[in-house]
């Protein structure tokens, strides 16, 4: 099985540790991971902000770059969701039958990290060790667009040393929403305040999730208030072992 890492432009640029963690995790599980260097951005930000015309060439590039792989793994629910949920719409906009069929063909092979581990690799215990109190925020697109359900939690429950605490109001949006956090910054802040309150209520040292964009938002609030609570992508917890422990980035 040829496995490609679709890291996302955002992780590539701002959170490279997450990419390294996915590589380390998948290699530890016996997979050979490729990172096709021609990948850039799936087009989600353009698409969600209304710039469909600008998103289209990026979607075409994605299909070209990843078309040859058996599985495409993304440590991002929202970017995987963009491909699976909205690429058919872009294909309609393009009016191209060949692009539409390429999209249909690639969609089922694109997996968010927890989906890949459980559904494709068939593993719930990835052999990780992370001796910390952790709470998990299910990001909106992984929850409601991809329906990953409790897959990330099943993976976390199998991490040795990890104490999982339940997050109140877990399925409520943290208020990020891409350009929403800029266009309606104050409403976004009000949503963030409640998410931060719930995270603090858990007494966790670390808040984890499957999307670094949401974690950047939650972590930005936690850090501004000097709460001493960090954020860490799910991949980095799952990559952590007793021999090679990962630190908390906050």
């Amino acid at each position: 099985m040829r496995v490609a890492l679709f890291l996302t432009c955002f992780n590539d640029t701002v959170f490279p540790d997450t990419g390294r963690a996915v590589v380390r995790l998948l290699e530890r599980l016996g997979h050979t991971v490729e990172f096709p260097l021609a990948q850039t951005c799936c087009g989600q930000m353009h698409f969600n902000t209304g710039y469909q015309r600008e998103a289209l060439p990026l979607a075409r590039n994605f299909v070209d770059v990843f078309g040859e792989y058996d599985a495409v793994v993304a440590p991002s629910g929202s970017c995987a969701g963009m491909v699976r949920h909205f690429y058919p719409r872009l294909a309609e906009v393009s009016g191209s039958a060949s692009f539409a069929s390429a999209v249909d063909e690639i969609r089922p092979r694109v997996h968010e990290l927890s989906e890949f581990l459980i559904d494709v690799a068939g593993v719930e215990d990835v052999g990780a060790y992370f001796p910390h109190r952790v709470t998990y925020h299910p990001t909106c697109h992984s929850l409601r667009m991809l329906h990953v359900a409790d897959k990330p939690l099943r993976l976390l429950r199998n991490v040795r040393g990890l104490e999982l605490t339940e997050l109140g109001g877990a399925d409520e949006c943290c208020g990020f929403g891409g350009t929403f956090a800029v266009k309606n910054a104050e409403t976004s802040t009000a949503m963030l305040a409640d998410k931060v309150r719930h995270v603090l209520d858990t007494g966790a040292e670390v808040c984890t999730a499957g999307d670094n964009s949401c974690l950047m938002h939650i972590g930005g609030g936690l850090s501004r208030l000097r709460t001493g609570v960090g954020t860490l992508h799910l991949a980095e917890i799952l990559a952590s072992t007793e021999d090679e422990p990962y630190g908390v980035t906050a």
């Binding site: 432009c9 992780n11 590539d12 640029t13 701002v14 490279p16 990419g19 390294r20 590589v23 380390r24 490729e34 990172f35 260097l37 021609a38 990948q39 850039t40 951005c41 087009g43 930000m45 969600n48 209304g50 710039y51 469909q52 600008e54 060439p57 990026l58 075409r60 590039n61 070209d64 770059v65 909205f86 909106c140 697109h141 409601r144 409520e172 949006c173 208020g175 990020f176 929403g177 350009t179 929403f180 956090a181 800029v182 266009k183 309606n184 910054a185 104050e186 409403t187 976004s188 802040t189 009000a190 949503m191 963030l192 938002h217 972590g219 930005g220 609030g221 850090s223 501004r224 090679e244």
Partner: protein, 526 residues
């Protein structure tokens, strides 16, 4: 400019001020936020419990969506079928293209009945066309009889929720409104809900006995039988529907159901989605006139007011499936915090964010409607809760695309257009992305300070973010630059995107070179 045959634009209570500023004001209202948090939380819990009881909830949602889609597909024929059946049963059908026509028709009917006072059954359509204001201008007093609408009316206020119009008020505020506005009310009135309801009941009973004309909306209009249906909780609606001589119902053309049997689906979907009840207490049906039983002068005013405009939009038309249950409001994290007034329309919350701009011909107005498609984080909770499966995030994104496309070709591009274009250019080539990553590090690292995090900064974009959140700096080494040095890339792997055709081989050669910095090849982050 208006062309013959162009669908009418929605008029009425649909044109408030831009969302971000109104939301900012609403966020500062601590009392309203506490009320909304409590009320939406309670309704969410009730809804989840009664929806969870049904094994076939998803099938019901699919059926509801399919029946409504059939209505939209067959709308002209079904409207004529309804007209024929309603007329045959002794009712009179009126057609209104917009709010102004509807207001004039209703005013004329009330004047013909010789009435100066009318009773209102809770109705979104009449709020949409601002009927109370139109009647008042003609010297006719309209009295709301739904308890929450009465609170809003007596408080000289606007509804802020579809189902619970006074959701922004708590019991102390309601007591103050009643003590101030209801003639002869006990000055020692307590703030207990039962006492407040009692005061309203005493006041409304007098109104019911005097009225000769009532005005309602309808939840459903059955084409097959010509039957109208109102679903309610209090029974005040039924008083209005049965006691007066004249009954006028203002109904949107999308409210049709093809057959009586279709009610089976919707009378399961609606109460569970709206009040979180298995069944609502009062469901009233009437089919024209029944001699000796109820009103003898029965009218329906079928309104378009922008609906055919929505119908013409292939993606947006699903909004016309809406049965006004307000489940999307109760689960919306934006609505819960800003309340209904910020949406500047009779239709607040997620459904309002798509319906109001489409009814009004989004893009033509310097008002709330250009901002509503952005009043969402696209979290998708609304779609999940919608009993007729309106994919609200899909329509929001579609409306954003329409807004962006409408601005294309203008001589002076906006800052956002320039930024999106620049990012599109960067992402069209991995080399440019790599250069931008280096520039991102160079630009952001000095802002990081001792903590390595960016604090509050001025500016329209970064200022909004950093007002309440730190921002990360861009690390010196991107993942792709680490990957290339890690020795994992095999020669021949695809290397370059569509921006630079024909250069795959060149890049493969480049990455096959030995890494230049041995310290960065270990595969471990520093």
């Amino acid at each position: 400019m208006t062309f013959l045959g162009m669908p009418p634009v929605g008029q009425g209570n649909l044109h408030g001020r831009p969302f971000p500023g109104e939301a900012r004001k609403a966020l500062a209202n601590d009392q309203q936020r506490a009320n909304l948090r409590k009320a939406t939380g309670t309704i969410r819990g009730k809804r989840a419990a009664v929806v969870g009881e049904l094994d076939d909830w998803e099938e019901l949602r699919l059926a509801g969506a399919a029946i409504k889609d059939q209505v939209l597909y067959d709308l002209p024929a079904l409207l004529e079928q309804f007209e024929a059946a309603f007329t045959a049963a002794g009712g009179v059908v009126h057609w209104a293209r917009d709010a102004a026509e509807a207001g004039a028709i209703v005013t004329g009917l009330v004047q013909a009945a010789g009435a100066r006072h009318v009773l209102k059954v809770k109705s979104m359509a009449t709020q949409e066309i601002e009927l109370n204001e139109v009647l008042e201008a003609a010297g006719i007093t309209a009295r709301e009889t739904d308890l929450a609408e009465l609170i809003v009316q007596l408080g000289h206020d606007q509804p802020s929720h579809i189902l619970v119009p006074a959701i922004h008020r708590n019991r102390a505020e309601i007591r103050e409104i009643f003590r101030r506005e209801i003639p002869g009310v006990d000055p020692a009135l307590s703030d207990r809900p039962a006492d407040l309801a009692g005061a309203a009941r005493t006041y409304l009973r007098e109104q019911f006995l005097d009225a000769t004309v009532a005005i309602s909306g309808a939840n459903f209009a059955v084409a097959e039988t010509g039957t109208l249906c109102v679903v309610e909780s209090e029974g005040n609606g039924r008083m209005c529907l049965t006691l007066p001589k004249t009954l006028i119902s203002v109904v949107g053309i999308e409210k049709l159901l093809p057959t009586w049997q279709d009610l089976e689906v919707f009378l399961q979907l609606l109460p569970r989605s709206s009040t979180g009840e298995r069944m609502n207490p009062y469901t009233s049906f009437w089919t024209g006139v029944t001699p000796g039983d109820g009103p003898s002068d029965v009218h329906v005013v079928l309104i378009d007011n922008g609906r055919t405009r929505v119908l013409a939009d292939e993606i947006g038309r699903q909004a016309l499936r809406c049965i006004r249950c307000s489940a999307c409001l109760n689960v919306c994290p934006v609505y819960e915090r800003v309340g209904g007034h910020a949406y500047g329309s009779v239709y607040p919350g997620p459904i309002g964010a798509i319906l109001s701009p489409m009814l009004t011909g989004f893009g033509d107005h310097a008002d709330v409607n250009t901002t509503l498609p952005y009043a969402s984080s696209l979290c998708g909770a609304c779609f999940e809760a919608c009993p007729v499966r309106i994919d609200i995030p899909e329509v929001l994104v579609h409306l954003r695309a329409g807004a962006v496309d409408a601005k294309r070709g203008k001589k002076v591009p906006t800052a956002e257009q320039l930024a999106m274009k620049a990012l599109g250019w960067v992402f069209s080539s991995p080399r440019r992305l790599e250069a931008a990553q280096k520039a991102g590090w160079a630009g952001s690292a000095p802002l990081g300070g001792e903590r390595g995090k960016i604090g509050a900064l001025p500016g329209p974009v970064i200022g909004g973010w950093t007002s309440a959140r730190d921002a990360p700096t861009v690390p010196r080494e991107s993942f792709r630059s680490w990957w290339k040095k890690s020795g994992r890339t095999r020669p021949g792997s695809p290397g370059v995107g569509p921006g630079e055709p024909g250069s795959r081989a060149a890049l493969a050669g480049e990455v096959a070179r030995p890494p230049s910095d041995p310290e960065l090849t270990t595969g471990e982050p520093s």
